[in-house]
């Protein structure tokens, strides 16, 4: 059935009865939630959200899979992914050092769009499913090649317990502890 336009009329209410009734409605619903708030607030450091595997969080680099094609850094919309040239020892020819280029990431700019992960032809990049790391210095946010290969530690893990959120028909989002 195709969409259609429907003209609606606003029910303009007036009169003392309606006024009193809607006041009572508003107060009653306030009291209802005052008594039973049905809340699902995340008590953050004590609890943290365990995101699904597909969540686009910080990015980790697997050097072994990289073929130095630079597709990730070409597609990066904010020029956060840069290539560095590295001279390293080729395992097949230990005597002949080879030139390769690897990506490094600048979290000052990264927008976590996931283009680099999606464009990588060998799956050398992957997301870790969290996003809550903060820095006190700008310089720390430019990952070196070594830092880029290490999965970052989520600070909340040592402080709290994981929870997941589920949709409930009556209460909206409800949080459920894992384990």
């Amino acid at each position: 059935m195709p969409p259609k336009v429907s003209l609606k009329k606003l029910a303009r209410k007036g009169g003392l009865f309606d006024g009193v009734k809607s006041n009572i409605h508003a107060l009653a619903i306030g009291v209802k939630y005052l008594v039973d708030p049905q809340r699902s607030t995340l008590l953050y450091p004590k609890e943290y959200i365990e995101h699904r595997p597909g969540y686009r969080g910080f990015i980790v680099f697997v050097k072994e899979k990289c073929i130095s094609c630079a597709a990730c850094s070409r597609i990066c919309p904010s020029a956060a992914m840069k290539m560095v040239r590295v001279t390293e020892i080729d395992p097949k020819h230990p005597d002949k050092p080879r030139q390769k280029q690897y990506p490094v990431i600048n979290y000052q700019r990264c927008i976590f769009c996931g283009f680099c992960v999606d464009v990588c032809p060998t799956e050398a990049l992957y997301h870790v499913p969290f996003h809550d790391i903060v820095y006190e210095n700008l310089a720390d946010m430019f990952m070196t090649l070594e830092q880029f290969q290490v999965e970052p530690q989520r600070p909340a893990v040592s402080e709290g317990l994981p929870v997941v959120y589920e949709v409930d028909e009556g209460k909206g989002l409800v949080k459920r502890r894992r384990g």
Partner: protein, 410 residues
């Protein structure tokens, strides 16, 4: 307030020209640091408590997207333009992608179209809830803000499950979308829809029918039908004034022509009618979400990008798609060229119609991207509708228009 010894015309703070104020007109600056301004400034001149002149001074969030689109490759403007309205991310990028598809003569697969529509409607509900929340806090109703934002989180969660990001989904790409739907999404979406329908009734009780709110909104900021047309107002604000216009029926894009929903139109044109349009639109969007997930559940098998693109994908890419439902891009996406031409595409965002003009000269970057967002077209309302109201009506009008400065400033 006198200017304390500054000569007329002196400029100590840029943009603020100190000048002698004419008799009995009181000039106040609402914004940019003001609880009731958002990211903009409204220069208001008051005569007593009546606003005689309002001059919106926008551009505080002008991030030069039109220029930057011209220097970046075709795919990169998608995340870039998304930042105009991150609360409505799919709706804002979809017409750009549509314009690219028009230029490339590419048709997305039907499954991708349904996924786009699904995300668009999730975004639309989230965007309306955002607008109603901000509106609530503007007229002093903090509970509405909290409830709307709390329930918006349900839709944000839904979008996060679908795309992997809370707000900036970067979901549609030319030819399709970036991910397929997870298995448990339809059930989750249906639960969300049922929950939200119940909540709308409670919203009505505490906010939309609340006598204080009704008194505050009824008859405020009336935009008559003819005035709305002259000013080129868009979206719910237009439909609250009795104009039966919605891009989804005027020029159906994606699969909107096949879905069953209504476009609610009210005739009063005041702030209350605009609020009601949003509430009714949320109901219709919930219907669409339901239809979309039902379709997606029953029609499996088709890839979420155009068939010809999918066949060309390497083996690893197909494996990843089978396993995770994630469409991997090919390096050609970074350097693709698009045939020369001019294309126009439009779509209906939560706040109204968005318009894209994309011109290609056959190169790797767009030649010109012109985007006119709903908020940019609604900004005119401040200048022409606000004068004549009292100062306390300004937040009510601002909130009811659902003006979002980053979207307007681009």
């Amino acid at each position: 307030m006198t200017s304390g010894g500054l000569e007329a015309g002196a400029q100590r703070i840029p943009g603020v020209t100190v000048k002698k104020i004419e008799k009995e007109v009181y000039e106040i600056f609402i914004g940019p640091q003001h609880p009731g301004s958002g990211h903009m400034r409204i220069i208001v001149r008051l005569d007593g408590d009546i606003i005689v002149e309002a001059d919106p001074d926008i551009g505080y969030v002008h991030r030069t997207m039109e220029k930057l689109s011209e220097v970046r490759e075709w795919l990169k403007p998608i995340p870039l333009l998304e930042r105009m309205t991150i609360i409505d991310a799919c709706n804002v990028t979809l017409p750009y992608v549509n314009a690219l598809e028009k230029l490339m003569d590419k048709t997305p697969s039907t499954r991708a179209s349904y996924l786009r529509v699904l995300l668009c409607e999730i975004n639309r509900v989230a965007s309306h809830l955002y607008g109603m929340g901000i509106f609530g806090v503007f007229i002093g109703h903090s509970t509405m803000y909290m409830w709307a934002f709390g329930d918006r989180e349900v839709f944000v969660e839904l979008a996060e499950v679908l795309t992997g990001a809370r707000l900036t989904h970067t979901y549609p790409i030319p030819g399709g979308v970036r991910r397929d739907m997870p298995q448990d999404l339809p059930e989750m979406a249906r639960r969300t829809v049922r929950y939200m329908r119940g909540r709308l009734e409670e919203y009505r009780k505490i906010f939309v029918d609340n006598p204080v709110i009704v008194k505050r909104l009824a008859g405020v900021g009336v935009i008559s039908k003819s005035r709305a047309i002259e000013l080129g107002v868009v979206g719910p604000n237009l439909r609250a004034s009795g104009v039966k216009y919605d891009v989804r029926i005027a020029e159906p894009y994606e699969v909107y022509g096949e879905l069953d929903f209504e476009i609610p139109v009210f005739e009063e044109g005041d702030a209350l009618a605009r609020t009601w349009v949003r509430v009714e639109e949320i109901k219709q969007s919930l219907n669409i979400i339901e239809q979309a997930v039902n379709w997606l559940e029953t029609h499996k098998g088709e890839p979420v990008i155009a068939k010809e693109d999918f066949d060309k994908l390497p083996k690893l890419h197909k494996e990843v798609y089978e396993k995770e439902g994630r469409v991997k891009l090919v390096p050609a996406h970074a350097t693709m060229k698009i045939p020369a031409g001019k294309a126009v595409a439009r779509g209906e965002m939560g706040r109204g119609e968005i318009f894209y003009y994309v011109e290609s000269d056959g190169g790797t970057t767009p030649y010109r991207v012109r985007v006119v967002t709903p908020s940019a077209r609604n900004a005119i309302v401040f200048k022409h509708i606000v004068p004549g109201h009292t100062l306390m009506d300004l937040p009510a009008i601002y909130g009811s228009i659902d003006y979002f400065p980053p979207e307007s400033d681009r």
